[in-house]
Every structure is written in C-alpha cells, then in structure tokens.
Symmetry: C2
C-alpha cells in the first residue's frame, strides 16, 4: 500500500477532469474520456470518487481553493483597500486574456446543475459567497458594514458580468468598464451619505 502515490493519482484525476470540464462542459465530458486522458484505470477513479457528481464537486472545490490562494497572495501585495480591489479586477483581466480561458467553471456548473439541492449547486454557491465575502471584508476597511455589503454585491455582479462578456470575446472592454464602474461605486459609497 502506497498512500502517497495513491493521493497523487487522485489529484491527477482531479486536474485532468478540471481541464476537460472547462473545455467541454460537465455532461459532455464522459468518464471514459477522463480516465483515458488521465491514464488511470476506471476502477482507480471509482475507488477515489464514488460517482461522477462527487468528482465534479471535488474539481470545483479544488478550483475554488486555488482561486482563493491566488487572491490571498494578491491581497498581500496591495496596500490600500482600493489597490486590493483594483488588483482583483486586474487579475480577472489577465485571466480573460489567457488562451485557455473558457468562462467561469462555476457559472457553467450552475447552468448544468440548476437544482439548489444538488451538491454541485452548493459548491458553486460556496465559491461565489466566498468571493463576495472577500470583497466585503476589503470594503469594510473603507466604509460602514451596511454599505460594504451592498458594494460587495455590486462588485461581484460586475465581475460575473465581465466574465460572461469575456466568454463572448469582449473581455478587454468588459474588464476596463467594470474596473472603472467599481471605482465609481466605491467613491459613491464612501463619499456622501
């Protein structure tokens, strides 16, 4: 028994599935395709994940962790709250420009698993709420809690909308306008009552 290589295999399956789901969607990507690309036996996959749905949840959670790590690193670079927000928008702008950008995996998961009771739906909600909470925490350094809550929701909507437009090939325009709008919103929220 070698637990460490076993975990390596498991992680390898997750990352391979992630790449395939991102490109072709969840329902369109079959198990056979995943194990062929990952070069593992079918039983190996089913020993690690009881079903395809559980694998999807695992992929989403993995992606959410990586996303959080990247934004954590970014947050340490920014000094002022405005800078931190701006850096998050810039990060999205760079993401949109990547050749392997295919839209937001979480938004796609929401489209394919629309039932709120479904574990995949819940994984999506976790990620979006986490991003919303991150934005709110930053904004609370600039404005009272109530306003930060509204502003965080607005910024999240701008980001999600920009991601959708980027998927349609208008990422540059979208992120520029979203960034500018975000600063307007912050100014309006912290300025007059």
């Amino acid at each position: 028994m070698t637990p460490s290589p076993a975990s390596d295999k498991r992680q390898h399956v997750v990352e391979t599935a992630y790449a395939l789901f991102k490109r072709a969607g969840f329902h369109s990507t079959g198990i056979d395709r995943i194990i062929a690309e990952a070069d593992v036996a079918k039983m190996t996959m089913y020993r690690h994940f009881p079903s395809k749905d559980e694998l999807i949840v695992e992929v989403l959670d993995y992606r959410a962790r990586r996303f959080d790590d990247q934004l954590d690193r970014l947050a340490r670079e920014g000094t002022t709250p405005e800078q931190k927000i701006a850096k998050i928008f810039d990060w999205h702008g760079r993401w949109f420009r990547r050749p392997d950008f295919h839209g937001c995996l979480f938004a796609h998961a929401l489209a394919e698993f629309g039932d709120p009771q479904h574990p995949v739906f819940k994984a999506v909600a976790r990620q979006k709420n986490s991003l919303r909470q991150r934005l709110q925490s930053i904004l609370e350094q600039m404005m009272p809690r109530g306003r930060a809550e509204s502003a965080a929701t607005t910024l999240l909507m701008l980001i999600e909308g920009a991601t959708l437009m980027a998927h349609m090939g208008q990422g540059d325009t979208a992120i520029r306008d979203a960034r500018k709008a975000a600063l307007d919103i912050i100014a309006a929220s912290r300025g007059p009552q």
Copy 2:
C-alpha cells in the same frame, strides 16, 4: 395538407422544449422527453427541425424575440431615458421573483456550448449584443456616444451578474444593488468628465 396546424405543432414543440431546457438544461433534456411532453411524433419533430441543435437555436431565437417584445412594450411606457433604464431593471426584478425562474437560458446555453463557431453560441451572442445595443440607444439620449457605449456595457454586466445571483437565491438584494449602481454609473457618466 393543413399548413396552419403544422405551424402550430412546430411552435408547440418550441415552447415545450423551452420549458424543459429551462428547467433541466440542454444536454440533460432528451428528444424523447421533449416529444413526450409535447405529445407529437418523433418524425414530426425531425421534419420541422433537422437536428436537436437546430431546435435549440430556434428555442433561443424564440425566447429572444419574446424578450425583445416585452422590453419594447416597456420602453413605450417610460418617458425619460432614466425611467426606461429603471424599468428594465424593475422588469428583471420581477422576473427573478417568478416561481419558474431558473436563471438566464442564454447564459446556460453559453455554458453548454462554449465553442464560438457553434450556432448555439452565436445565438447567445446575438441576444446579448441586442440587449447591449438597446441599453446603449437609451443612454445615447443622455450622454455622448463614447460614454454611452461604456455605460451600456457596465449596465449589461450588472444585469448579467444580478441574474446569476438571482439563480443562487439572492435576487432581491442583487436587483436592488444593481439598480442603485446603474443610477450611480449614469450619474457619473453624464456629469463631470
């Protein structure tokens, strides 16, 4: 031969497919399910639509037409440009509250058909660009074209983001904040340079 009833059948298939796609997604909804729900023969469906993909495009175009009609009617009610914009946001707020709301069918289609060459992808792009153009036309009554272009993109992003949040059960908060942000953006765009 009765051409009128035939068209009725065709339209009935489109509407039935629309309801099913909205609830369960595109890949998850089989042809068998559609014809059973619509109570037509399989050959009837394939005589009207050469393939499932073509049916999907037809459904999206049908939905886009209906959406445009509703916003046209709304636009005639509003008097000032601000009112017209506000009415569009209000319409979305009412949509989010409907019990049969399941998110944006076009966003879902984008998630399942991510290839820009695919006819379904193109149908989605048509609808989003149409909404963006509608917003821009209204905004151009208040501000120069360049600014109206940016503001229209921003408003579209707010609407798309709000729709995604509404799908996650936060429609009320989302539309309220989006509406407020939209007015802020408009004020900032028409005010100082």
